[in-house]
């Protein structure tokens, strides 16, 4: 059934940048802790490689992309892979709303980075809920 499709979450794959790490931590929090039944994580690197399962996942479900910088690789790759970006999230935009959570660290985020990732994850979870609700509404109509 159409409304059983899980929302795809595609985070930045940038290595060596705190903002990239924040994006991935937020994606893990949504897909593993907050909304495991309603969302699924797709690795950006698999889309870059043209992995068939990853491409099928983004082609079959709305996606929430999380970009660590203005290059917006996650958003671009989902679109190039035939997917639909339902919501673009930029770490910098979220950080501007949570100035008290300054992210630092790369392999291991500081407390501020973890709090920023958690705040972002809660917002994305709400987006997942809204998208799922919209899908259910469309399926029931």
């Amino acid at each position: 059934m159409k409304h059983d499709r899980r929302i795809v979450i595609v985070p930045c794959s940038g290595i060596g940048k705190a903002y990239g790490t924040v994006s991935r931590e937020a994606a893990y929090a949504v897909t593993l802790d907050l909304r495991p039944a309603d969302s699924q994580l797709v690795a950006l690197s698999l889309l870059v490689l043209g992995d068939e399962a990853a491409r099928a996942a983004v082609a079959g479900s709305p996606a929430v992309t999380i970009d660590g910088c203005k290059l917006a690789c996650a958003t671009k790759m989902v679109k190039e892979s035939g997917g639909t970006v339902a919501q673009e999230v930029a770490v910098l935009d979220v950080y501007r709303r949570y100035k008290q959570f300054k992210p630092q660290g790369i392999a291991e985020l500081n407390e501020g980075g973890q709090q920023l990732a958690h705040a972002m994850a809660k917002e994305i979870a709400a987006t997942v809920d809204a998208l799922r609700e919209s899908e259910r509404g469309a399926a029931d109509a």
Partner: protein, 149 residues
């Protein structure tokens, strides 16, 4: 729209507006009547990265040359910016509170930081670099940065 000097180093293109003066650190100053408007050069904004926050000293603050006039926080670093002139902060760019990305998008226009009532612009101007001099300095700085990549 100002004319620009332009150079490409590695994969990055940098512009220097011809119609203003610069500090060696990349803060520009442009005389506009009794006021001097200031902001970041294209090279400085690109080297610093995407701006998250920009805080300019409040209106009425008295600053000397070299005193901190603003601080920007980017995804890479915090940058303290030194005032290019003596004077009093007369106006700050209100857009900096809500959309500091203007610094990255339009460093010589909408991304201006503040206006100062300069105490002695003509004297301060002599200590600044004209566009051609800053362009040469900036190009050498950019080439040095590129060697580190």
């Amino acid at each position: 729209m100002p004319d620009f000097l332009e150079t490409t180093v590695d994969k990055f293109t940098f512009k220097v507006a011809k119609d203003r003066y610069y500090t060696g650190e990349g803060v520009w100053a442009k005389s506009e009547g009794k006021r001097v408007r200031m902001g970041l050069s294209d090279f400085l904004q690109q080297r610093s990265g995407d701006v998250a926050f920009a805080e300019v000293k409040p209106v009425g603050t008295l600053v000397g040359v070299g005193d901190e006039i603003a601080v920007i926080e980017t995804i890479k670093v915090n940058v303290s910016l030194a005032s290019p002139v003596h004077g009093v902060v007369a106006e700050t760019n209100p857009a900096m509170a809500t959309s500091p990305e203007g610094i990255n998008q339009d460093p010589y226009g909408a991304g201006w930081l503040g206006d100062l009532e300069a105490t002695d612009w003509e004297a301060d101007r002599l200590r600044l670099l004209d566009a051609e001099s800053y362009f040469r300095l900036m190009k050498s700085q950019a080439e040095e940065e590129a060697k580190k990549l």
